[in-house]
Amino acid sequence: MTSSRIANCPSCGAQVEFKAGASIVSVCQFCSTAVARVGDDIGELEILGKVAPLAALGSPLYRGLRGKTKGRAFVLIGRLQLDYGAGAWNEWYAAFDDGDWGWVAEAQGQVYLTFSRPIPSSSPPFAEWRVGTRFTMANATLVAVERRSAKIVSAQGELPVRITPGTTVRYVDVEGPSGMFGTVDFGTGESVEAIYLGRRLEYEELFDKSDLRAADTKEAAAHVLDLKCPHCGAAVKLMEPDEAQRVTCAQCDALLDVQKGSPLFLVNAASKKGPQPHFPLGTKGKYKGQTWTVFAHLVRAVVVEGGRYAWDEYLVRGAPGWRWLLCQNGHWSWIEPASAADVTPRWGKAVEFRGKRFKHFQTSSPAVEHIRGELYWKVAVGERVRATDYVAPPLMLSEEVGAEETTWSVGTYLQVAEVQQIFSLPKPPTKPTGVSLNQPDPRGPRRSAVTKMAAISSAALVALGMWVSATSSGRVVYEDRRPLNDEVVLSDRFTLDERANLEVQVDADVDNSWMYLAGALIEESTDQVGAFGVEISYYRGVDGGESWSEGSTKDTVYLGEMPRGDYVLRFEPQWEKGVTPFPGRPPTQYHVVVRSDVFLPSHWFFALFVIWFYPLWLVFRRGTFEAKRWQESDHAS
């Protein structure tokens, strides 16, 4: 910053100061005249006009406040106050010690530090800009989020640009990734006059917390004491008088306009009482380590195909700024602002936000039906926006597009018990019904854990199966091929060295005929008999020109848990001896193979089925859960 230069106000003769070399305008603190230096010479000053008194906006910033960013120190030496019709804000002139300068704008509890940038030669005129327009600058994709006009209401101290008090200027606010922010300034014309680009920051990132003050807040609060409802005369209390734009009378529900330092103005007389909020306005709660106060309750609704879908919105205020609590069908979400530049359109109407893909859910035009409480913008019943919701449970991403502004917000699903805990409510505020658009599947964590366990169990089962298969001897204890006759066959004695199963495999030359082999396994030391039967039948033919067949020429049965010992097998065959259908014939011989200690794949698959039954059932339930969710969307089948 250069040394101070002082001149005399051409209007009143008092001293006006040009502390910074970049200062072009200075506002006389005695007569409120804005004067501009002509060229570099401060000896010649031009009168630009008188500015209105500053509105108390409750700013913790003040002239002379020093700050620092990236090791560079600056001081606030002046400010502009602009009003876009629904509220005013401050733009502070930051003069850096190294001669550079920037703007520090304040909005909704945050500051926006921007610096002048060269104007690209291809900059489109104001008329061609739309909210949502994307363009690239400074190696970043920027999105136009606001396209408005604002009136220069007041100024204080020095300014780095020429202004004409009372004129209306046009601007487009843009957002970029990671808090990037900028303003395209069109002045009073159509073409770009200046571009400022920078970043959204918390106050404490620029200023020492102990240097910030709340003097303006106190000053503003004094103006709003003893406010009375112009409709019913009841006292109206404002919780955040410096930001309030609308308030409803707690007595008669009339919607009132708040203008700082002025009596309340009636916007709408009370018509009908809206639904009661789930908790009283002014209720305080704790969430994410901050204290939040409920400021307002709105009911918004949309009519789709003759059906009215309504939901409650609660405006809450905490140290980080304004947030929303949304309640639909008893389901709750915590809503925070999101940057449009962090949202990237993706294939299939989806968007990506912070590395996560959000599916398009619905686009609608909800309208405000009821208002209660204190709000920071000039809301009205019937106010309508185009809203588009995207989901990636437990998150939802919403875009609200108005004529001059687009806003994005990200919502996180809250369990009812969480809401009860946040506001220390004696009982749950709602009983949810149906499935909310961003409700996470309640079985999701269990499904995830169980599926993981099923995968581990399957791996163990594979290893176990391989071990069982490798160690199963499959020893042939009996094999015989015999012609079919009425003879009963007895096998040689065979020994089982350990408890094992037996596989009896029989095949015969059945063809449009059957055979049954009645078997008995006799344990010689105990005289215990294990009776079993093997039935083989095979039929074939042609029906209506179509060939068909059923059955098989072989079959296998298993005998379990054979204790160790000596055994003999007894077989007694029976078979079709009559005339068989053409082209069949009765069987003439059969072949028996008996193996001990065989690997049974059916057991392995049964174990695998049992392991996966529950995880697959949970996957099925997820499908029905998702179907319920998407029933309410634009993509309902």
Binding site: M453, A460, E524, Q528, G560, L600, H603
Partner: protein, 65 residues
């Protein structure tokens, strides 16, 4: 995070299935066994063509039952 009751029950079931499978395979258990156990009827014992072994009938073994 602590597993919920459903997950814990599933964990127990999966463990039982694995241990059960190993036990069944070790014992030679067959779930759908074709066998029907019964004591040998006395009239079958000495019937020719009965359960006696090939050795019993053809090698002249006369002892036993």
């Amino acid at each position: 995070m602590r597993a919920d009751w459903g997950t814990r029950i599933y964990m127990a079931v999966a463990t039982v299935v694995l241990l059960g499978y190993a036990a069944c395979e070790t014992r030679g258990t067959v779930f759908a066994s074709a066998e029907e156990k019964m004591p040998l009827p006395p009239d079958v014992r000495s019937t020719h063509g009965g359960y006696r072994t090939h050795t019993f009938w053809h090698v002249g073994y006369l002892g036993g039952k």
